[in-house]
Symmetry: C2
Subunit: 424 residues, 2 copies
Amino acid sequence: MAKIKELNIALLGLGTVGKGLVNLLKENENEILNKHNAKVNIVRIFERNADKLEKFGLDRNLFTDNMQDIYDDPSVDIVVELLGRIHPSKEYIEGALNAKKNVVTANKDLICMHGNELLKIAKSNGVVLLYEASCLGAVPAINTLKNNFLGDEIKSIKGIFNGTTNYILTKMTQEGLSYADCLKEAQALGYAESDPTNDVEGIDAAYKLCILSRFAFGLDARFEDISKKGITNITPQDIHIAGRLGYTIKLLAIAKCNDQRLEMRVNPVFVSNNHQLSKINGAFNACTVEGNYSDEITLIGRGAGSHPTASAVANDIMNFAHKMGDVGQRVLKKAKMEKDGIMKYYLRMSILDKPGILSVIAKIFGDNKISIESVIQDKNENPEVKSLIIVTHSTSSVNMNKALDKISKNEAVKSVDAVLEVLG
Amino acid sequence: MAKIKELNIALLGLGTVGKGLVNLLKENENEILNKHNAKVNIVRIFERNADKLEKFGLDRNLFTDNMQDIYDDPSVDIVVELLGRIHPSKEYIEGALNAKKNVVTANKDLICMHGNELLKIAKSNGVVLLYEASCLGAVPAINTLKNNFLGDEIKSIKGIFNGTTNYILTKMTQEGLSYADCLKEAQALGYAESDPTNDVEGIDAAYKLCILSRFAFGLDARFEDISKKGITNITPQDIHIAGRLGYTIKLLAIAKCNDQRLEMRVNPVFVSNNHQLSKINGAFNACTVEGNYSDEITLIGRGAGSHPTASAVANDIMNFAHKMGDVGQRVLKKAKMEKDGIMKYYLRMSILDKPGILSVIAKIFGDNKISIESVIQDKNENPEVKSLIIVTHSTSSVNMNKALDKISKNEAVKSVDAVLEVLG
């Protein structure tokens, strides 16, 4: 085994995502070591004051409020920018790149507006700038466009790039409520900001569409070129009519391109209920990429939040480690194959309609440590017997087999007709 | 611009996927040149007889029925194996690797059973073996596991890895038909083979689960360790009960792993209707990967077929080209940003209930080259007016704006209340 590769990072910003990253690096330290033969150390944290570090259980010696400390520290391999907003993040990243530090950022506004400029600075300094987390949180949209569709012509990307508006539209659709009521609820739950403009007017989705379009089409897509229309005028009436016609209203970011023409827009769309994007509910994000040979590929996942966004940041950090080329091979896991699966069960059996039979069966489950989620007695094709349907909580298949063995020997049980796993 | 990189491939097998690849390389020749500054030439085709090439419009000089010709041809960079089955594909690939040819294959049985052995032979010869197309057709499952979740601990992969069984289960669910009837229909449509055992007993899905588990968990997963249960015993009754309880029955391939224990199985599962996998219908494939920080990421797309599988093969070929390191930068597309979008429209307007008004509005659309897909007259909140709802076919937004301008000036039109894009 080669020597463990040490990667030192300077973290700018100990906010929601910054804290998520600190947790990830701690919790997954062994996993990262086994997978990559690498260790990621946080050696500096740029914040307003050191108390914030201490409150989060971090050594206050990591603290700095001076970017020059980071530029000048020869041990820093990667600067991770999680401050957000364009200024002063842009100046900090420029400074880091010019100090020959590699940079990982989750800053969509900045990458949308100045990404190409920053990539040039990175290139001229021989360092890398990665920003998977700038688009769709944990959904690996940028990596997917980088590593796939290489022989295809990508014809379009379409997606649900904003969780706040999808949450609101889902609520409006499922409960018939007004936009205003759903916005209020989203604000109360922390899904929408007190000034929701960037989300509800399609601006946030347009940032991401702009970034992804560059990867999809190999062109210098500009934010200004994207037409933006939000969801503030969507009425329950239109949502209702959409449902009657077989559609669901979603705020879609859409870019279509061929050699001659490019269309880019964010707007509410009647999405056919046969299309995957119609089925993305709540705060989830999704992106559908259409290649001329692959046809449509859809990615779905959590587009925001501390852990999902930290996951994308960590992926860039480890991707950079692999680009450096001296990361060790993955260690083969030694997990033991289990015959005994842990799962929920659906059972359907035909039983004689005798008093007390249910309690007998319930006792057999209890004796085998199987707890029951729900029970239904149902008609059977044979009028002399009833169908007994049971959904269990998670249990071991070994215990279930023992219970089934006992149950099938009970004379009131005519047959066990179905034994299936349950997910969710 | 650097010199164009030429890649020469020898194609084994001119079947469905082979023909798809030939078409892709021809149709996307310019796209590949612009994206990668590379050109892919087919220099040899291994088949039983040369007529097959000629019938498909290919030069019969490319023909060989002797693998030694390919091993001995110094111009061949990549051997693309699309013959299927384990033998003699295994011997051909071994021969190619030992002749220091890189290999791309779509052969899931072979990679499942002998992938690790072949990877060792590739490594010892300093060449690569790629097989994205062996799992889920165009869905980039292997690449996604290779390039993402690098900082996460992957806890599980779950998916619909077989289109035939998903088609049958979808039919059973939507139409209440029996397994036998749906199998017959799938066979008539070419979705199922005359001997459907590999599909309906979960064997095909288990091959793919085995391959993907190696990438997900970094372990040497073995086909024999996977418990396999098919869909032949699924009854309309269980599907009906599932629906009543808020579930949909799907054949899922499932692997869960932590340091201590590994569970791998293919079996029919009651999937909660809140889970993305419950919503994958027809012949589509899907894979959900759960990282401890990313949470669940789901990929959906076409898991089989000539074009989707060729897309995955072509991606491996171009990925190899990038590994060689002398592929040019992508040329920036020069597509012109269009203000004029092409889309279907949903329109809702409030109109006075006067005879002839519909024909006036229809004429305005016709004059602007907009054709109408459907029209609904509906009640309005205001009893004196009616809601007129129109869904159009694809049209230009410039034409739509002209039509709307004219319509809104008509005195019988009280207001245009909603103008939204329609997808699907």
